[in-house]
Amino acid sequence: MPRYGMVIDLDRCTGCRACMAACKVENNTPEGSFWMYVFRFEEGEYPNTRIWFMPRPCMHCDNAPCAKVCPVGARYKREDGIVATDWDRCIGCRYCEVACPYSVNYFNWRDPEENQYVNWKDPELEALSGGVIPPYKNPDLDRPCGPEKRHIAGASHVEGVIEKCTFCVHRVEAGKTTACAANCPEHAIIFGDLDDPASEPSQKLQRKSSFRLLEEAGTHPRVQYVGGTPHGHGWRQIQPAGKRS
């Protein structure tokens, strides 16, 4: 059984956010929901300024605080390392959102079908969508996943349900890599079996020193960063993505 993880090489990340766009279209995430988010940071004072970038997916922690607090077992850790959300079970209590130190959970306050950037439920638009929302809906997301046959892929877009990065479980189970890794123009995001020393992410970890976010929290993230150091104090986010102010 492979145990998946992700290695992100900050030496190669140009902060382009192509991974964010790829994730959005692959997983049909609603407006304002960023399963992958790329921070652009600025540190220091002019002219001793430093700019750097940091993609942030769900960390798929081995000691996942979100799974521990889920009262209904909707958030659970799979044997292959993926932290999954069963959207059939989720009751929308948002405990996971509070427990997660990485802010990777997004709650569907609205009917996601009305929140796919366009209100596709508008009867006038039905001609274009043919009832499929959004019209570029990924048909793979509805399929139950894993031996447990639970609904954990991207179609967790249900009102009153929490959602987050799934490590593209529907792709991974089909033998592919995650959408963000597949699309990274600079090959900064690498996904694979961390238990296999020959896998690309394992090889990268052998070559370069790595760190994990908030390691001191004891969460044991399965996402590791190389090619940089954890940010210190005095950083500022520039060019934030999100809803218009």
């Binding site: 964010m20 959005k24 009832g131 959004p134 570029y136 809906k137 809803k243």
Partner: protein
Amino acid sequence: MKRRTFLKSSAAAASGSLVAGSLMAGCLETIVEATIDEKQAAQKEEWVPTTCWIGKQDCGILARRVGGRVVKLEGHPANPVNHGTLCPKGIAQIMAMYDTNRVKAPLIRTNEKGVPGEFRRASWEEALTLVAGKVKETRARDPHAVIWQKGRSKAKAFYDDAFAGATGATKLHHGAYCSDAGYRACEYTVGLHGVLHPDFRHCRYLLSWGWNITNAGGNKLCYLTWPRQLVDARERGLKVVAIDPRLRGAGRFADEWLPIKPGTDLALAMALCHQLVKQGTIDQDYLKSFTNAPYLVKDDGTFLRMAGSEMVWDAATGAAVVRAEARDPVLSGEFTVDGQPVRPAFEVFTKHIATYTPEWAETVCGIPAATIAHVAKELGENAMIGNKMLVEGLSLPYRPVAIMAYHMTQQELGFQAVRAMLTVMMLLGAVEAVGGQRVDFSWKPNDNYDKLDQATVKDGPYNIYLKESKFFPINSNNSGIVAKAMLDPAKYGVKSIPEVCILHMTNPLIAYPSRKDIMEAYSKLKFVVAIDPWLSETADYFADVVLPAATMEKYEGPISATDQYVDAVTLRVPPMAPLYESRGDIDIYLDLCEKIGVLLGPDGYLALLNKSLKLKEPYLLPLDKKPEVRAIFDAWAKSQGIEEGVAFFERNGVKVKGPVPASKFYGIAQNPPFDGRIQRLYGESLLRIQQEMKAKGADEIYWRDYTPLPTWRPLTLDASPADYDLYLVSFKLIEFKQSRSAFIPILNELAPDQCLEINPKAASSRGIEDGDEVWVESHNAITGETRKLKVVASYRESIRPDTVGMAHHYGMWVHPRAKGMGASPNELFFTGEGYVTNTADQSFHVKVRVYKA
């Protein structure tokens, strides 16, 4: 598959007058069979190879189609430019395709122009007949009265060459707003079409000049391809020196940041030249063999010639001889030939740069002299002058230093600044050497090397963009100047102004400065037609007819897919039928030409296509009947030796021709090197042009930058009053392309708001907090005019305290998703004298003052 049918709107349902907004937003009829189709085809999954349409380099795409519906666009793995990946724009254009705010049917204006448009839906037949009639009638009367304006042409052979050729329309481009100053400088100086990029495979030391390197855009390729070559090169040890008022362009990839004062790049480049000469780190053999540095210059600034051939001083014989006969040409000294004093051009050059010391440059550029000196030292060391490398069996000069520059060329002294930057590289012997300075993808000598050298200044009347005029003899075709000439034809010696304008994939009101001039000028156009998937702001105010073009769902091309090292070609193939009633642009032009009466016959569109597509027997298009678009591409593919024809591309997407051999890649590897083209360190013809301009009575503001050597002068904008104490610069964002993507929701979400980047020190001294709304007020140093707009201030430690920055792409008002994103800096920039200089290129710099709103 019947998607076309069900998505098609019924023309019968729409009659009467509708405002553009309501027509665009969701006037679709549902046709039930669509749902049936979906179910029948539900399981069928296909991958259609095609290309991106939104960006600059048309990356290869595999469109995932399920049940006839495109559900995702992924990068084509075999395409050398993008290797299976796409930028945010490429991914997000699926939303552009399905955009419910596209123009869904041909529109005909029902209200007056110059105000937001009201349109009625028309049939293609009615709209095309109307457009063709206007074009036909107008060109019969005055061929110069029809203009065709493009923002980007995605099939040059079909549009720029064949359509403009067949109709005789005057072509207007966008390059004077983008990088044309750099193109002209490179064409003239080294004879290559392009601006500046490195041989990333071998480069060790890079001056990243301007904001392109990871931020957006770049020479010949987009943001996506260059950064991959950059990060690979950095893993091999490439050092990057970022030269830009903002750090964001180079991001974390700057090993050193030289925050230069806007518009002073020429001064820095000349100071680097000064230091290289002082250090003695110059490639004398290169200068003697491949540049005009040894040519003898007379006191009047012209070359000494014998029987038309330039002469050099030959140390071997101690006499002036024609260049071809010299065994040992000298670079310095003063000589007397036939009683007249002469000096090698390099001697003139060294005198010219004597005062351009790092200390002097510090006062101009705001970069410490010591920094300039150490960068020059590192340049000299890293150039490894004298070294050679064995590449594919060829022993070639190895000079792993280069400059990367593109959009920074659009500044007052842009043309000469790029000449100065090329001079740095000539001194190091790095142009077209291994690891060195590149301009084009491979060694492709450009005609403008001779044409610009031979450019003459003519008497009027001039055409609408003042080609060969005493104002802008080397001309980059600037629509701002077109606007100025339309508003005051007498001043510019223009006899008649255009009446009909065809807008192709361009939105001048948003895209080009200055909006005010363009607004006034376009209101003089009698008939405007926009070929566009969306109702552009320009169409909103001025279009008489809007013809809905498809987005990526059409055949278009052919498209080069080279990343500079591997050569490939691709085509855009429709991943589904055009949505709504839109049509592929080529279909539109074929019909338009037919109706105008310029499709058939020996001078018609098809005859020109045969030429521009380089079609060969037996695949030449017959000149007596209208072909299908697919059949044209089939003829093209077969003429290219691809037996399978267009089906090859429909199946594979990209034809990879293979690695570009070093013998075709490097100019220095040619026999003779550079095909014998001598690089123009000294621009003798620029001096001649200056004299001709003066003789025709041109004012100094037009001729002053036509100097044989790049020459610093105080900038026009610095003549603005002292209270306009900040420089406004503009830049582009990775997330958007030109003015055709800010309304795509995913992109719009990635970069939701316009802001004014301002250094906290500059802000706090003005009482401006991060996030405050401020007024930015620009001043025209020539006319005294001021303009202002409101924008939100955003603190940046990564920008000079005397400089503020704004991104392009914003400022649209028609598409509901783009409304309210904030203003465009084009509202603050000025066009015309002082801001359009030398080669008729637009400057994107202006002095502003910023105060709390």
